[in-house]
Subunit: 174 residues, 2 copies
């Protein structure tokens, strides 16, 4: 599928509601359990998504539009949420993510991106030259991927509970 | 995590709303695209979940409670939805799934399952002896797994669009 701005924003605007339906007011055990040492719980993933809104997607899009390849993106801290989410509730994080996403999509709309602007180039500190449409596509895939991660982490909590059905549930082996 | 009936139903009752947030009124392309030959689109997955409500979870739970191991479950047709969903819209399927899930959870409540009943045994046509709590755990994992599948299938539509970011997005290789 080719990147289309309106198709992409249709996904991006849905993610807070999806995560809200999936997680809000779930018993704590579903929220804080992970896949083992050095893996993320649904709570951790939500903090990571928040950090992305604050420091990654829109800031990088602005950098592309304003500076092109002349100024590389700041590196993204993939572990910042362990500190930043401390002491917060899942409800706090869901609220915060929803608010930030509304602001991000508003900022995106205000960029008033015409098709030719989507080909503008920026500089990723590790990957090299990237385009604005690649950045926005990655934002969409990142949302979907982490939503999927949350469902996988939760599913695995019942790895033993399903008994012999384990054989039919490849998600438990991932 | 040990199976707990109230923890399990917390997940089961959320799935229709989660899929609704994720999918309703999305552009058709997101809904009908799959991962290639002999794979399922989000539309197909939803039909599969509907078929599960109609023929799998509650009917099997009833069989366990009424007949124990003396009558094996009917085999579950994993491809029935290709015929049954024909001509329906995604909105139709979301509505139908939501309604069926409400009915399933009501039926589950009416079973008034006491803890000792969860150990009751039934006979799976291929896997052999299973317990009621394993069946209900599998229902939960099945929901989460197919929700994750939908996000993965959608993510993959942007496999090319993300450009060099592919290297950071393992979901695209799954």
């Amino acid at each position: 599928m080719e990147f289309q701005l309106d198709h992409a924003t249709e996904i991006l605007r849905r993610t807070p509601a999806t995560l809200n339906s999936l997680l809000r007011q779930l018993p704590e055990e579903w929220i804080v359990s992970n896949e083992g040492r050095d893996t993320w719980s649904p709570f951790d993933v939500l903090g990571h998504l928040i950090h992305g809104e604050e420091t990654d997607w829109i800031p990088r899009a602005r950098l592309i539009l304003e500076y092109g390849e002349s100024r590389p993106f700041a590196a993204f801290d993939r572990y910042a949420m362990f500190e930043k989410s401390r002491g917060k509730s899942l409800g706090d994080l869901l609220d915060r993510f929803e608010q930030l996403r509304v602001e991000s999509l508003q900022a995106l709309e205000e960029m008033n991106l015409r098709p030719e602007m989507l080909a503008k180039r920026g500089l990723h500190p590790e990957l090299g030259v990237v385009t604005l449409s690649q950045l926005l596509s990655t934002w969409v895939v990142h949302d979907l991927s982490h939503t999927g991660q949350i469902t996988r982490v939760m599913a695995k909590q019942y790895r033993e509970a399903v008994g012999v059905w384990q054989a039919y549930l490849p998600v438990l082996e991932k």
